[in-house]
Symmetry: C2
Subunit: 472 residues, 2 copies
């Protein structure tokens, strides 16, 4: 017999079919469902998620679920793909492959760049930041010629400590280490906790930047099953830790994962932190999209009691893509991270830090976040809508709660690499799935960024992509 | 019998004793000596160098030799110290030692910082750079929020290629890779050409930053005999390459060495490049003080025909200590360096690059260089003068042709580490010699920076240091 949540879901699916719930209608709240059907919170939630997974419902920030536009229903969500065993030889060469893809993308004139995981500059507070920086330059004429002094400007460290406190992490300003973007932070984190030849457990798929760092540091990545909805499988990690003693660190993106877009539920985050603490394995989190989450998302660091979590973050995606301002909380490895940072690139420039600190501490930052996230929500909806229209049946896509990344599984037989080449020849840039795995597991996938607002060019690009996939 | 050059030197020494040549007098030019004594260029030069080594003569930029101030005569130049064999255990731990020294220096309030290898901000064109940056911010309001795109701003790459052309290096703008200071450039260079466990041949003493990088990358440093006047012994390097096949790179500072202050003569630079090319060993040069040389100093890269030299440089010491703008010419490793750079910290911020490019291309840059180098020359003279007055007999010191670093050999028995502690307790910061060798060979030495102009505080600090050495 069907479990209870499925029977509830069936009932509402019929209501949508019957037209009693129409696209755009607000779906009954979880509280209402609990009362109406006398079920537990978890059963009510499961029912909503079932319908969401099937494409009938859409979750909106702080507003609950809404019935989905019919065309969108044509797009089933991306699934977790079975992990094939990997030929050891396939562990090498991801950097060369990614560099090749990036280089080819740069040689070609591009009219629609759907590969760029950042929003266009108009969505960031460029003028406000610029005015602050100009004032600081006027007031402090030696700003550019005074030697940099610390692992972060005191005002920026304090501002970031306050921001992360609101997300459940208590950190002293002195624990914040400012870095050259999250990329440097991830490098330092991995250098601090691993030895060359060691293994790093990662999600599958994973952001190619992480795979490149792992390879460039002489480490090996082991890719673990990851659900496009709930993230890394903690059970699979436990199994891997039991069977592979060379695993020295776990590196994940628990909130708005790149490329999957998924966020681990809190219970799963807590279990992951507990598992790594128990096994004494360093847990590194990349949280650069954390503040793009519609619900305030707690980072793994919020569950860290023993200093075993290294939190890596950046302001490049959320506030200022032109500044390379990353930061990290390195837990019990802070002294080692500070030493490595000094050795690798000394102390960061102070003027951009002071500029951003002032902005973060003003009400303008929260206003900016709301505006950015609302714009990205609209972009995601519009892109999903056009993808549903233009792509052939059999295409599956994630519809993440926040951020700007859509992960597409192409119909059987279609190749992301082939699509990349054909699209590039037509001035369209996408990120092929092969970039996101050392084992090249995801050639049947592509990542599309919806940072840019929908317009005629993007619509035409998506139509071209769809017809290329049909022709494949 | 004395060689010819010694007999000529004896003659002029007597003339100085007799007062026929007085302190401050211009010494006969090399051309005059050749004519007067009917000797070869090399004999005339050797005679001058002999007197210079004894402290009787001082070389000045483009003006030839001058008879030295009598007090300065009391200060014999630093000598090359015999290299003891090193216990392999001593290879580890330089980073921890240096971090400890740096951390102790930061905990203590300091009134006279003679450890900082950078000039005070007043000697840099802070206001001019600030005005350029303000204008760029006004004209391009999206500067801080547009994603960084390349391995360097085209205008800065072109400006640096022009500057280095004037020093004998022909490089296309696209060969210039912009980095986070010379520190990141040296990291990338070493990562590009070595494997963990490999050995890097370095000068002895060497800048501690290089030793830290080598250690942090899991490499081993082998320190080679280095003359405080002529730099690395190429013969010793040839011998080391013959006997140690694990040497994968040579990393040197051929112009105004830190801490020795010495510059390799052109013939020695050429021989070094030729040796490394012949043996197929990567040659990495740190040239950050290159433009502080009174004579235009050719970098090793000027002799590079096969792309085997990696030139690392920075604008932090010469132009803008508040900006972390380094750069490099990576020769045949350029593609690998660009890949590693992308993996390590992505592309650099564009605004500071555009700002500096505009300044470099204006006549103001050469004016700034002349002013900076003239100021540092005065500082060096004044510091040497006060050191001669305050320090006990037996102290030896280098008098470099440019830059701001003085290398002192303390009288027998005095320890740089002990002096560091005693001085720090009195608010004076110095760099103890132990920082400049993995084998801690230079505990009898200290490095003093004369970036700051001579004033009462500095004079008092040098007096205190002198009396601490006397009491040691």
């Amino acid at each position: 017999m069907n479990p209870l949540y499925r029977r509830i879901a069936d009932q509402y699916r019929s209501a949508i079919h019957a037209g009693s719930l129409r696209p755009g209608d607000r779906f009954p709240s979880v509280r209402t469902l609990m009362r109406t059907h006398t079920v537990s919170l978890s059963t009510a939630l499961q029912a909503c998620r079932q319908l969401e997974d099937e494409g009938w419902l859409e979750a909106r920030a702080r507003s609950g679920y809404f019935v989905q536009h019919p065309r969108r229903r044509g797009l089933p969500p991306a699934t977790e793909q079975g992990l094939r065993p990997i030929d050891p030889a396939a562990y090498v060469g991801i950097s060369a492959h990614v560099s090749e893809i990036l280089a080819r993308g740069q040689r070609q004139p591009v009219t629609a760049n759907l590969a760029l995981a950042v929003a266009p500059s108009a969505l960031y507070p460029g003028e406000a930041l610029s005015r602050i920086m100009q004032r600081k330059l006027r007031l402090q004429p030696t700003a550019l010629v005074s030697m940099t002094r610390r692992h972060g400007h005191p005002l920026l460290r304090a501002a970031l400590a306050r921001r992360v406190l609101a997300r459940g992490v208590a950190a002293a300003p002195e624990e914040v280490v400012i870095t050259q973007g999250a990329t440097e932070a991830m490098n330092l984190a991995l250098r601090a906790v691993t030895q060359p030849g060691g293994t790093v457990a990662v999600e599958s798929p994973s952001f190619y930047g992480l795979l490149q760092i792992i390879e460039a540091l002489g480490l090996r990545a082991i890719e673990l099953p990851t659900s496009p909805r709930d993230g890394l499988s903690v059970e699979a990690l436990a199994f891997a830790l039991d069977s592979d003693p060379s695993i020295q660190a776990v590196a994940v993106m628990p909130t708005l994962h790149n490329p999957l877009g998924c966020t681990m539920p809190d219970a799963r985050k807590a279990a992951l932190v507990a598992l790594c603490a128990e096994r004494g394995v360093a847990l590194i989190e990349d949280d650069i999209y954390g503040e793009m989450s519609p619900q305030p998302a707690r980072p793994l660091k919020a569950w860290d009691r023993a200093g075993g979590v290294i939190h890596c973050n950046s302001l490049s995606k959320i506030l200022a893509p032109g500044l390379r301002l990353g930061w990290m909380l390195a837990g019990r490895w802070q002294a080692r991270v500070e030493m490595l940072k000094y050795t690798q690139s000394r102390f960061p420039e102070e003027l951009p830090q002071a500029t951003v600190a002032e902005f973060l501490d003003s009400p303008a930052y929260d206003r900016h976040l709301r505006r950015l996230n609302e714009a990205l929500r609209q972009h995601r909806d519009a892109y999903a809508d056009r993808i549903a229209t233009h792509f052939p049946p059999g295409t599956r896509v994630t519809l993440p709660e926040g951020g700007m990344l859509l992960w597409l599984q192409l119909p059987d037989g279609a190749s992301g690499d082939t699509l990349f080449d054909a699209a590039l020849a037509r001035g369209i840039k996408i990120a092929p799935g092969s970039m996101f795995s050392t084992g090249r597991r995801y050639d049947g996938c592509v990542r599309l960024s919806c940072g840019r607002a929908m317009d005629e060019d993007v619509d035409a690009a998506l139509r071209t992509l769809g017809s290329l996939v049909r022709g494949a």
